[in-house]
């Protein structure tokens, strides 16, 4: 038999179904022994569960309410503090200002590194000069080529 009202058996047993639904399920149960048996099992199970609800550990309700009151007061105090205390706000604003100042100042101090021209890149790769780029970028390549050729010796004296 199709359309067994499986999910409606619980509400049916508990008397929660609308009249038309209840009538439909009742008619089905008359004709379907499996569903009738199922409905009985659901009824028995719900009864057993209802009669055997585990008991929660005992609580001292005076202490419970006192604890709750403390927690609520602490929560309210925390919320008030954030909005009403001027010192943390002033400190936060000052810190933000200082951070902004340093960010801008560092931006001014460090000029952007200009990208290499193709000629410089080629020469740098050939002579392994990319490590010395900070020296190379300051030279006019065509006029100071001799300096570039002996750059290794120059870098060595600088490190020494």
């Amino acid at each position: 038999m199709a359309n067994h009202p499986e999910t409606e058996l619980g509400p049916y047993v508990r008397g929660e179904l609308a009249p038309s639904e209840r009538e439909r399920v009742a008619r089905h149960l008359e004709a379907c022994p499996d569903c009738r048996q199922d409905a009985e099992r659901v009824r028995a199970l719900l009864t057993e569960l209802g009669h055997s609800v585990p008991v929660a550990p005992a609580v001292n309700w005076g202490c419970y309410r006192a604890e709750l009151r403390l927690k609520l007061d602490a929560r309210r105090a925390r919320r008030r503090a954030w909005w009403s205390r001027p010192l943390p706000l002033a400190l936060s604003a000052s810190l933000a200002g200082v951070l902004l100042f340093f960010a801008v100042w560092n931006g001014w101090r460090s000029p952007g590194v200009e990208p290499m021209t193709p000629e410089e890149a080629i020469i740098g790769r050939r002579l392994d000069l990319l490590r010395q780029y900070s020296v190379v970028e300051r030279l006019d390549l065509l006029e100071e080529f001799d300096v570039i050729r002996s750059l290794d010796q120059l870098a060595g004296t600088q490190e020494g």
Binding site: G10, E48, L49, S52, P54, A56, V59, E67, L68, R75
Partner: protein
């Protein structure tokens, strides 16, 4: 005449401390019991049920009064408990044979005694305990649906409002939960 929960909640929104105390007194046992049923840890149940009251205090003005106050409050509480479990702090309780680190007892041994007629055989008590252990091992939404129905005696529409899902979804949760529990009873 005692003010209704909905009226008290409106007063809490206006920062009436006495109204808040009255609501706490009315719901403290239910909140703690429900939290404990979901979490199976007394300390967590205490903390989260108290947190639910704090959230109630903070967001009382958002209670529009369209639903019952209990449904609105249970939603706050159940969401807190399900989130807490989801974060994994309660996952030890999901493992069947995980022994308690202090006592070395298994999960089954740690279950509190269920309501039982003293005349009942020991086997029946163990069966019922096993049944609630099986409830503890259900998927979170199924577990919450069973507890809300069986323990708190909420209707399907009320459970749907608490879990913020459709009634059809609640029926599916309960059907699957009962199917799992039926198998437990059969093997017992």
């Amino acid at each position: 005449m005692e003010p209704t929960d909905e009226v008290l909640c409106q007063r809490v929104a206006n920062r009436d401390e006495a109204a808040f105390d009255l609501l706490v007194a009315r719901y403290q046992e239910r909140a703690y019991r429900l939290a404990w049923s979901i979490l199976r840890n007394a300390e967590d149940a205490r903390d989260l049920s108290q947190e639910a009251f704090i959230r109630l205090y903070q967001s009382a003005s958002s209670f529009a009064g369209r639903a019952k106050f209990s449904t609105w409050f249970y939603r706050i509480l159940v969401n807190l408990c399900l989130d807490h479990r989801r974060k994994g702090r309660g996952w030890r309780l999901w493992l069947r044979d995980e022994p308690d680190p202090d006592s070395g007892e298994s999960l089954l041994d740690r279950q509190p005694a269920p309501f039982a007629d003293p005349v009942d055989a020991l086997g029946r008590e163990r069966t019922l305990t096993k049944l609630w252990v099986a409830v503890d091992r259900l998927a979170p939404q199924q577990r919450a649906a069973v507890i809300l129905q069986v323990q708190e005696e909420l209707t399907t529409p009320e459970i749907a409002a608490v879990l913020k899902c459709s009634e059809a979804t609640v029926r599916v949760h309960l059907h699957r939960a009962l199917r799992t529990l039926k198998k437990t009873m059969e093997t017992s």
